[in-house]
């Protein structure tokens, strides 16, 4: 039923034909084009669709448009007037409250409503007002800062006081600029400038894939399997195809036979099921229709006849003989077995003074970015495929589309609009990308496909649940003698990144502490659940959690302070680990000293009342994978011969072009690095500006379109700052080199004496200068376009000469330590994470505010996964909580207070001394939380998440016993 309604939106009346069932969200986005109002969960759990209705924040996904007629509706687009931002929008921009930006419009509207009622709210009032708005990136810290400091902003981009970020560096106000090793201060690097995309995100202008509508566009939906394991006997699409508005329906018979995936040796997914379905949600058919609602109705009309097969959901059961087999090619469901041994493991244990063995279990974590995956595909008349997609890895999507469709990469143009968070969940080609392309080719029209929240959970690619059996031996002083790790990774139904995950779970453990003897056995196992993939910290957070717990247990057993035992084992700079990881800069010890002092550790550990606890955890990560995911050069995989592995990069992993405008006033920086909210566009702008000698404001970033920007492998393995950073800096230097003779001519000096800085070209000898742009114009007059290019290849020869020796290699490694303080309600088991103190060695912070934003976000995400998050399945393999009210992520009210600090460090292999921060910052968190809870309660919970129920059960089981925990597995030897 459709009727005419008049909606008053942002002060204007719109009379529209509105379906009775249309939500305000749908009307705002689809009819009025007000796409600043986002769609996240569609059932009122996430708050990204928040609008003001008569001044009150409401979820526009739960409000029927017809019901909102006659009320005054304000969307994010209605806040700024004539392009002038509100003070709160300015505050969000300048206080680091924005990362991926997907929660930002809703947050700003909720904050605006609060400030109208209460212009000077207390922190608790801010948290209460924003409790209905989830953020997955910022850890809420910047958001609280922005709302509480809003009065400092006047809405004209100025601010009375901007010292907050510098204070957090622990350096006091007005920290001296960061410097290169020669002592020369940086100009654009090391500066907490606001994100280059922040204003677009604060005003709702930023376009995400689902915000884009192309003319004549169709909408697609995929039918997922309702059962976890079975053979597809017959599919009847006739009813669906006959539905008015349906344009096309495809099944497995209509898609290429070529399998796809991530690990080249394990491509095992079909675009749509050809024979079997292996998890609930496995893709069976797809429909395209005039609108999404019709497509949704159509997939419900498809009848599929399945032959049900037995289901296996547990990794240990899956490897038993006779267990249901998911893929014939993986006997006993073992997708990968990693076997690595370094040193003399048994001799190491024999030489140990104390050995403890424990079992730990991880949880199934889903990244849950607030922006659902989305894709829009269309085909040019010349056969070029254009794909808009919400991805972290535009190049790998291009590579995989080429692979599936047997077409040159050059005929595929991938456009990555703004991305609302990824965390590893958007690091591979999705069925949406593939189905949209197929359906678009068949219909000759653009096709858009967007996952629902539930479909995101079924698509999966979250963190593997790992079953870990660890054995650690130390000497009398707590120095590690030997470490043995056996891990079963529950991989779900397809390989995805899993081979790499299984290697990472072993290879990054020895980067933090000296481990002279090490054995790792990893089994990546297939189960009838959505495939697991690469989530923030790829494979490492759960083993790191387990290792940190075990180390803290041993410290307590031996009466050594937990921070002291870490000091004694801490990695030293310029070390080759037992598994041939090449550690360069390393200020791990400094991070330990810093968190110890800043948190007041010595006055707290062992001295807190019951129910209060403090714990420590450490971690670090690679600054970019040393090798590309696929072998050989950039070329259609089917055309490449079998490539023997070489310990060097075949092509540059990051490539940039800096093109100077003809008047010399602007530089367009082109690189395919994926901005997914982590801030890569901003830090790359800063690094290029540093090299060019101009302010970042003169640079415009073009990173979203593979037709414009050269290849960068994307946002994974924390590689962008280091690798793309080098590429953009080199492109900048190349421009300066070209300008040098023209500047020298203008200055009448030696070319060698010319330096670019502060938007001028200087004769360093005389101190005279000319405007930068004048030299650029002179170049153009003589030579035409002024363009510089730069690229980066990881060093040759990374890694040892053993199977899997490449995984975990990197040009540089980050290090960090975190102290967590908790309060536990001993009657209910409820944990309140009160405070985090974190110090990191990330080399030179290119943008300290962005670095702290990564740390704050990682702490809240990591703490959330430690105590809340778990994808739960029933016995048939159905997800019990594929939504954001069952799968709980921390809200602003749950987030701890965070102090994030940095230690002085300079990485020779990084651009301007920089290393990674995004993933390494997650790693200390889980262990620190677990340790703090153990410290508060006296019980170690060794399976994640550490829920109130588990804590109560552990406390209860301990009641009749006495004294401190003495696990049966603890073996003391002298």
């Amino acid at each position: 039923m459709t009727s005419l309604r008049t909606l008053r939106v942002n002060g204007h009346d719109y009379t529209l034909a509105v379906d009775a069932g249309a939500t305000l969200l749908e009307v705002l986005r689809d009819k009025l084009g007000l796409t600043g109002t986002k769609k996240g969960c569609n059932v009122g759990d996430c708050g990204v669709c928040t609008v003001l209705v008569d001044g009150e924040p409401m979820n526009s996904c739960l409000l029927l448009a017809a019901e909102s007629a006659g009320r005054s509706i304000t969307t994010i687009e209605g806040l700024s007037r004539n392009g002038k931002l509100t003070p709160l929008q300015e505050a969000f921009i300048h206080e680091g409250a924005i990362q991926c930006g997907y929660c930002t419009p809703g947050m700003i509207l909720a904050g605006t409503a609060l400030l109208r009622e209460n212009p000077a709210p207390q922190v608790e009032e801010i948290k209460e007002a924003l409790a209905g708005n989830l953020c997955r990136c910022t850890g809420y810290a910047g958001i609280v800062r922005a709302v509480s400091r809003c009065e400092n902003y006047r809405g004209d981009g100025t601010c009375g006081d901007r010292t907050a970020h510098d204070e957090r560096d622990g350096q006091g106000n007005g920290r001296a600029p960061y410097r290169d090793p020669g002592g020369k201060p940086f100009a654009a690097v090391g500066v907490s400038m606001p994100r280059v995309d922040a204003a677009d995100k604060a005003t709702g202008r930023a376009l995400y894939t689902a915000d884009i509508a192309l003319p004549n566009m169709l909408h697609g939906k995929i039918l997922g399997s309702p059962i976890a394991h079975g053979r597809v006997r017959r599919i009847d699409v006739s009813r669906a195809a006959a539905l008015p508005g349906v344009v096309d329906v495809i099944t497995g018979a209509d898609v290429p036979d070529t399998q796809y995936g991530v690990s080249p040796a394990r491509y095992d997914e079909h675009v749509l099921a050809k024979d079997k379905v292996r998890h609930v949600g496995d893709e069976v058919a797809a429909v395209v229709a005039v609108d999404e609602r019709t497509a949704e109705r159509a997939i419900a009309c498809i009848q599929v006849d399945y032959e049900e097969l037995p289901v296996v959901l547990d990794a240990y059961q899956a490897v038993q003989e006779g267990a249901p087999l998911l893929h014939d090619r993986y006997p006993r469901n073992i997708n990968t077995h990693v076997e690595q041994s370094f040193g003399e493991i048994e001799a190491g244990f024999a030489a140990s003074h104390y050995v403890r063995e424990e079992e730990f279990t991880g949880n199934t974590i889903y990244q849950s970015p607030l922006e659902p995956h989305a894709a829009i595909a269309y085909w040019e008349h010349d056969g070029t495929l254009v794909l808009y997609t919400s991805t972290q890895v535009p190049h790998y999507v291009q590579y995989m589309m080429a692979h599936v469709f047997h077409m040159p990469l050059g005929k595929i143009r991938v456009i990555r609009p703004a991305v609302g968070g990824g965390f590893g969940g958007k690091a591979e080609t999705t069925p949406l990308d593939l189905c949209a392309a197929i359906l678009s080719r068949r219909t000759g029209r653009p096709v858009k496909m967007v996952y629902s929240r539930e479909e995101m959970f079924h698509h999966g690619r979250g963190r593997h649940r790992q079953h870990m059996r660890f054995k650690l031996g130390v000497d009398r002083e707590g120095r590690i003698q030997a470490f043995k790790s056996e891990i079963h990774l529950d991989g779900g139904a397809y390989s995805s990144f899993g081979v790499a995950t299984a290697y990472y779970a072993g290879s990054v453990i020895p980067t933090l502490y000296h481990i002279p003897n090490y054995r790792y056995d990893g089994y990546r196992v297939m189960t009838n659940k959505p495939a697991c993939g690469a989530m923030r910290g790829h494979g490492v957070p759960q083993p790191r959690f387990a290792f940190e717990c075990l180390l803290s247990m041993i410290a307590d057993d031996l009466g050594i302070d937990p921070i002291e035992i870490r000091r004694r084992n801490a990695m030293a700079p310029h070390t080759r680990t037992v598994n041939d990881m090449d550690i360069g800069s390393c200020e791990f010890r400094a991070t330990l000293e810093a968190v110890c002092e800043k948190s007041g550790w010595d006055g707290k550990y062992g001295k807190l009342p019951r129910g209060k606890g403090i714990g420590v955890g450490c971690g670090g990560f690679v600054s970019g994978a040393g090798y590309c995911i696929y072998r050989g050069q950039v070329q259609l995989s089917h055309e490449k011969g079998k490539e023997p592995f070489q310990k060097r990069s075949i092509f540059p992993h990051a490539n940039a072009v800096a093109k100077v405008s003809e008047d010399g006033m602007a530089v367009v920086l082109m690189i395919g690095a994926a901005e997914i909210g982590q801030g890569s566009d901003t830090v790359l702008t800063q690094m290029c500006a540093e090299a060019l000698g101009i302010p970042p404001a003169r640079i415009r970033m073009r990173s979203e379109d593979s037709d414009i920007s050269p290849l960068d492998l994307g946002a994974y393995s924390s590689r962008v700052t280091l690798m793309a950073g080098h590429a953009v800096a080199r492109a900048g230097y190349a421009v300066v080199e070209k300008m040098r003779p023209f500047a020298a001519a203008l200055l009448q000096c030696d070319e060698a004496d010319v330096a670019a800085r502060d938007a001028r070209m200087w004769d360093q000898r005389s101190g005279r200068s000319v405007p930068w742009e004048e030299a650029a114009r002179k170049y153009f007059n003589a030579n035409g376009p002024l363009v510089g290019t730069g690229c980066y290849k990881p060093p040759d020869g990374l890694g040892g000469d053993f199977k899997g020796g490449t995984v975990g290699t990197s040009p540089a490694y980050s290090f960090g330590s975190a102290v967590c303080e908790v309060a536990v309600d001993l009657e209910t088991g409820k944990v309140r994470i009160e405070r985090f103190t974190d110090y990191h060695d990330c080399g030179t912070p290119i943008n300290p505010m962005a670095v702290h934003g990564q740390v704050e976000g990682a702490i809240v995400m990591g703490a959330s996964e430690t105590i809340f998050e778990d994808v739960q399945f029933d016995e048939q393999g159905r997800i019990l909580n594929p939504n954001l009210h069952g799968y709980l992520m921390m809200t602003i009210k749950d987030a701890p207070d965070i102090f994030s600090g940095l230690v002085e460090s300079y990485e020779e292999r990084g651009p301007f001394g920089a290393k990674e921060i995004g993933e390494g910052s997650t790693l200390p968190v889980l262990g620190a939380v677990a340790h703090a809870i153990a410290n508060a309660t006296g019980v170690w919970i060794k399976d994640l998440p550490i829920t109130p129920e588990k804590i109560l059960r552990a406390l209860k089981s301990r009641e009749p016993q006495r004294g401190p925990e003495a696990p049966a597995a603890a073996l003391a030897r002298t």
């Binding site: 039923m1 009727s3 009775a20 069932g21 249309a22 939500t23 749908e26 569609n42 059932v43 009122g44 759990d45 708050g47 928040t50 209705v53 009150e56 924040p57 409401m58 979820n59 996904c61 739960l62 409000l63 029927l64 017809a66 019901e67 909720a110 948290k127 209460e128 007002a129 924003l130 409790a131 209905g132 708005n133 999404e292 609602r293 949704e296 629902s452 929240r453 539930e454 009657e827 209910t828 409820k830 809340f868 739960q872 019990l880 909580n881 009210h885 069952g886 709980l888 921390m890 809200t891 602003i892 009210k893 749950d894 829920t947 109130p948 129920e949 109560l952």
Partner: protein, 293 residues
């Protein structure tokens, strides 16, 4: 994840609304705040073709002081209820529930009537309203019925209202002298979380400080708000102290009929019931003493 094809009927009178509900029963439902109904519609849980919107019936919105107590209009949002001065002055324990439930956006939309009429077992208002002795007013062309809350809930998402009846108000009688009540809930996280278990307690003290009357109602641990009759027997006539409240808590644990789900096992919920009962009783006692002095 769209609302299916529905017809919307925007009513301005109760008569219209009731007539439509009758005409389209059982495929019609009242639409007020919509925070439950839209989720049900989108997830296919509600088999409804007709939405009978009562949002424009302005007389159902507001909080009034009447001779029989506080009259809370069914369309009053949770936020309005929470900030109502009348509630603050005369019915403060309600604020234990209104301040903690869901998220601000939901509280701005969700209505008091909806929180009751949807009859979701984990709803926050029913336990405390039960303890406060509230009655719902159900209107139909045949007249108004008063339903004390224990007679209102039949089971999950089922009430004793007839298909043509519309919940128009809740009447909360004045709290007697020496009476204090409180609501304690446990949720897995602080913001926007559903109650895993909840307990509402009410205590009336006599002049000697003995418990003259006691009420205890549990939420989220039974198909309907579970009133613990045994607790009343345990408490009444005694001086409140810790062992007594422990006994009441044990009675509550016994009375709970929890299920296991993603939020926790039945066993865990039962333990929570005991803890929450003690906490609700402690707060209720403190308030009762304040109300006596």
């Amino acid at each position: 994840m769209h609302v299916p094809e529905v017809e919307m009927h925007a009513c301005v009178t109760l008569e219209d609304a009731s007539a439509l509900l009758t005409r389209y029963a059982p495929r019609a439902r009242v639409l007020a705040g919509g925070t439950d109904l839209l989720v049900d519609l989108k997830t296919g849980r509600a088999n409804t073709q007709h939405l009978v919107s009562i949002s424009r019936i302005g007389s159902l919105r507001g909080v009034w002081a009447t001779a029989e107590g506080l009259r809370i209009g069914a369309l009053t949002s949770i936020t309005r209820l929470h900030h109502s001065n009348l509630v603050r002055e005369r019915c403060a324990p309600l604020r234990d529930a209104t301040g903690q439930m869901a998220a601000p956006q939901i509280r701005n939309m969700a209505t008091v009537g909806g929180n009751l009429a949807c009859a979701v077992p984990c709803a926050d208002l029913p336990p405390i309203l039960t303890v406060l002795g509230a009655e719902v007013v159900a209107w139909s062309p045949r007249g108004e019925r008063r339903l004390p809350l224990p007679q209102f809930f039949l089971g999950p998402r089922r009430t004793t209202m007839e298909s043509d009846e519309i919940l128009t108000a809740v009447i909360v009688p004045p709290m007697p002298a020496g009476f204090g009540a409180a609501y304690a809930r446990f949720a897995l996280r602080e913001g926007n979380a559903i109650a895993v278990a909840a307990a509402a307690a009410g205590l009336r003290l006599d002049g000697e400080g003995r418990i003259a009357d006691a009420r205890l109602t549990l939420g989220a641990v039974a198909p309907v708000p579970q009133t613990v009759e045994l607790a009343r027997e345990v408490l009444v006539g005694h001086r409140p102290d810790e062992p007594l409240f422990e006994k009441a808590a044990a009675a509550a644990e016994l009375a709970a009929r929890p299920i296991s789900d993603v939020r926790g096992s039945a066993e865990f919920r039962r333990r929570l019931v005991g803890v929450l009962t003690r906490r609700a009783l402690d707060t209720a006692l403190r308030r009762a003493r304040e109300a006596t002095s």
